[in-house]
Symmetry: C2
Subunit: 142 residues, 2 copies
DNA sequence: AATATTATCGCAAAGTTTTGCAATAACAGA
DNA sequence: TCTGTTATTGCAAAACTTTGCGATAATATT
């Protein structure tokens, strides 16, 4: 059973309706290797559905993020990008200077996450964490 | 010497021009206890300058974030909020369900940040980190 | 103080994301 | 399978953010 099917089933169990639009959007995001913008998802689905509206894409992505099935990150230029949780656990290191995203390992962070849960009762989403900073290239070229 | 003065001086040293608009905006952000949107900053400055343009506020905030003097975060509803680094070091825990922001202590995270620097050469901005997840209230009421 | 250079500004337009509303379709129950 | 309820959709408008361009003003130089 693929990831998109489990997501759709879970949504249905939570009382949300599974529409063709949601199916297409979830599938597209789940099968993508990279982060996608709402516009990109909409374009990729154009051949399959001429009537799918961009607002529906945004609303579905909001739902997925809200329910924890996807993550929203801020790409270069302030545009939002989305990714599924399917995407194996990793850390994003995003450079403030050049905007590039570097994947990194979460190893070593777990104790701190556990501490936050104990101290504040807050359950951190660890699947797609993002840290901002300056990358090796840009550190050098300053 | 207040924080806004040092920021303006540093900007000048970096070759950026210090304009009345930039002075006002930096001052407003530095003196604010809370995170502000571009629109809020613009409104607060309306009495002082009738002609200050919202686009200038956005461009100045972009500059401040790019140069590391401010942080941009995504508020509820997808609107951007800004804060200075003045704002003492802390972690933001933002709840996916209710959108509330909880401040938390960074204590215990330093070793991991150091590890990222060693392993990837990436210098994480630790002044205003944000983790997403689910807050105690919302965990309970599920 | 006057001048030259060019970064920054205001404005208007474009691009991106959210929202209100009436029509539609998903799904629970008969 | 048919019916009723209401969550979801498409569309259009609003809200938010970025960008191009000519005019202006900040800084360096004389
Ligand atoms: Mn990723
Ligand atoms: Mn803060
Ligand atoms: Zn970089
Ligand atoms: Zn919450």
């Amino acid at each position: 059973m693929t990831h998109c099917h489990t997501t759709l089933q879970s949504l249905r169990q939570q009382g949300f309706r599974v529409t063709p639009q949601r199916e297409m959007i979830v599938e597209t995001l789940a099968h993508s290797e990279t982060h996608l913008s709402a516009e990109e998802i909409h374009q990729r689905l154009q051949p399959r559905s001429k009537t799918l509206n961009l607002a529906t894409v945004y609303r579905t992505l909001d739902l997925l993020v809200e329910q924890g099935y996807a993550t929203r990150l801020v790409g270069k230029g302030g545009k939002f990008l989305y990714a599924t949780r399917q995407h194996s656990r990793h850390l994003h290191l995003i450079c403030r200077k050049c905007g590039r995203t570097y994947p990194a390992d979460l190893k070593g962070l777990e104790p701190f996450i556990a501490h936050l849960k104990q101290t504040y009762g807050f359950q951190v989403e660890v699947e797609h964490l993002t840290f901002y900073g300056v990358c090796p290239n840009c550190l050098q070229s300053t």
